[in-house]
Symmetry: C2
Subunit: 324 residues, 2 copies
């Protein structure tokens, strides 16, 4: 493979000129640029990306931290982030935290060492002190990390209201809400609060049950669904994440409870898995693809230091199904 010295000799310019022409689109006269580009082509020169990044202090890489990708919500989120970042000229490094200790720590170290340009953080970590005083681009996705870390999320207030309206339309009197662990600081708790307020204003009974921390499995959702039917035999409406509601539908079937006649189910998130069962789930759909596109754009603006007037919050909508 040709070296940069051989290219410089071929073009009749200095090594520094070759480097500047290759790394800065606005450098040099048209004649100089043409000479360098001809020499690069003739010599089949491939510039070393590592060397180039060393001079620019950029890697064009963004780290995405999520609990897992083997879960429909995070799978759709990561898919959207990777696509949007790609179109903005950035590559995606993936880190899943659910099964590993210290995985995040590695990414934060890489950010400090400038092996990556920024981090989009959507994991459910409890200790977020790691992200304080970093003074490097960090964007939170649906999580509160620290006062000076901005956050992109869905309008969960509206999401909770949409769910409540669906229940009220069918005269539900006793709603159970399945929430994530309350110790995780996330705006997503807001949909339970909003639904709760609307339902209570209409005289309905509401109860909240919580999944264990970092529990995203279907097995965990099934177990909690069984507990709910035992503890609240008169429940006539359940709101929770897609996985939880799919589990409730399965357990209702086992117990001979007819959905939607005797029990209304509303899934929150509205990922593809609300569609793939034999009875599609009624759902509040987060605009996951649009949220990902927004987060990617915000991230790149943080890296390049640009200002934008894009929103931080996007609205959800109700996705019709056959469970409410």
């Amino acid at each position: 493979m040709a070296t940069i010295k051989e290219v410089a000799r071929e073009a009749g310019v200095s090594v520094g000129t070759v480097s500047m022409v290759l790394n800065h689109a606005d450098y040099g006269s048209a004649a100089i640029r043409a000479k360098v580009e001809a020499a690069v082509a003739k010599m089949h020169y491939v510039p070393s990306e590592i060397g180039r990044n060393l001079s620019l202090q950029r890697t064009q890489m963004v780290g995405i931290i999520v609990p897992t990708v083997a879960h429909p919500f995070f799978a759709e989120l990561v898919e959207g982030l990777e696509e949007s970042l790609f179109h903005l000229g950035y590559k995606t490094m993936l880190c899943c935290t659910q099964k590993k200790e210290n995985a995040e720590h590695t990414f934060v170290t890489m950010l400090k060492r400038r092996t990556m340009d920024g981090i989009i953080m959507g994991a459910h970590s409890l200790d977020v002190s790691l992200y304080e005083n970093l003074n490097r681009p960090v964007l939170a996705f649906d999580r509160y990390l620290s006062d000076n870390i901005p956050i992109v999320h869905c309008d969960h207030q509206l999401g909770g209201q949409l769910a409540a309206e669906a229940f009220l339309q069918h005269d539900c009197h006793h709603i159970v809400q399945i929430a994530g662990a309350q110790i995780v600081r996330t705006p997503a708790h807001g949909y339970h609060q909003a639904c709760n307020e609307v339902m209570q204003a209409h005289g309905a009974q509401t109860d909240l049950v919580s999944l264990p921390w970092n529990e995203f499995s279907f097995a965990g959702a099934l177990q909690l669904a069984r507990e709910i039917f035992t503890r609240y035999p008169d429940v006539d409406g359940i709101l929770g994440a897609d996985m939880s509601i799919a589990a409730c539908l399965q357990v209702a079937g086992e117990r001979g409870i007819r959905v939607p006649e005797a029990l209304r189910l509303v899934a929150y998130d509205g990922t593809f898995m609300t569609q793939t069962g034999s009875q599609p789930l009624t759902a509040v759909r987060q605009p996951i693809e649009e949220l990902a596109e927004l987060a990617a754009a915000k991230m790149v603006h943080m890296i390049t230091g640009e200002q934008d007037t894009l929103p931080w919050v996007l609205p959800p909508h109700l996705l019709p199904g056959r469970t409410c």
Copy 2:
């Protein structure tokens, strides 16, 4: 932040010695290493990852190329690869090809330029000439890329036999198999062939229908399911990927066809989505997590030049459900 020169001065050694101690665990006497490490700690020195990689010609990064992660099979695969690579000291760069032109090309260029150490390729690309004569670590996952690119996959022959045995146990006479696009060169076509052979040997009728190329959506699966029920009204067994079989179950419900009594369904892959519907799918389960672990280990051995005696193929097993 302290520079390497300041660390060297503090330790009373040369800059080269500091660099060698930090980058090579076996370099230098214990006394020298202790002096350098004490100086690094005292000065709060953070070595530049980019500079270090420049000297090692390694980035400790592996690229994973898949069609999409918003699909249960690839989601579970990427989850497993990322986890295994992490434990082996490698970071994961993700590339999804389904929605983007030339995404792969970028990764191959990065591999050539040594911005990444290796690629695990599981996308359904038709033009794979990109991967020929690379002379860099490339591992194919369930795809034929070229004669000198090794491939990790499930024993699809056995998978097809397991499915056929399940159908025969229930006296199926007319099987329809839903395959991926035949133009993609993958060992996965083998399960259809194996199932076909066993069924025909028992006098059953078999038909094969194919999804369009790179079609992984539930909407696409639903459309094909409707066509199958119209074209083959006497079908009593269907084999296909999880998404396709979930679609068949939904359409069977719409048409009043009772599963499993009048129609036996066997899903291939056995991802989490076979469990989350109200009627869990009977499935041939690929050992996705173990395949991912194997592929990650093989990839790292290709990068480091080590030999291993690990297998290239792992067996699937039948996962009981309520559709066959």
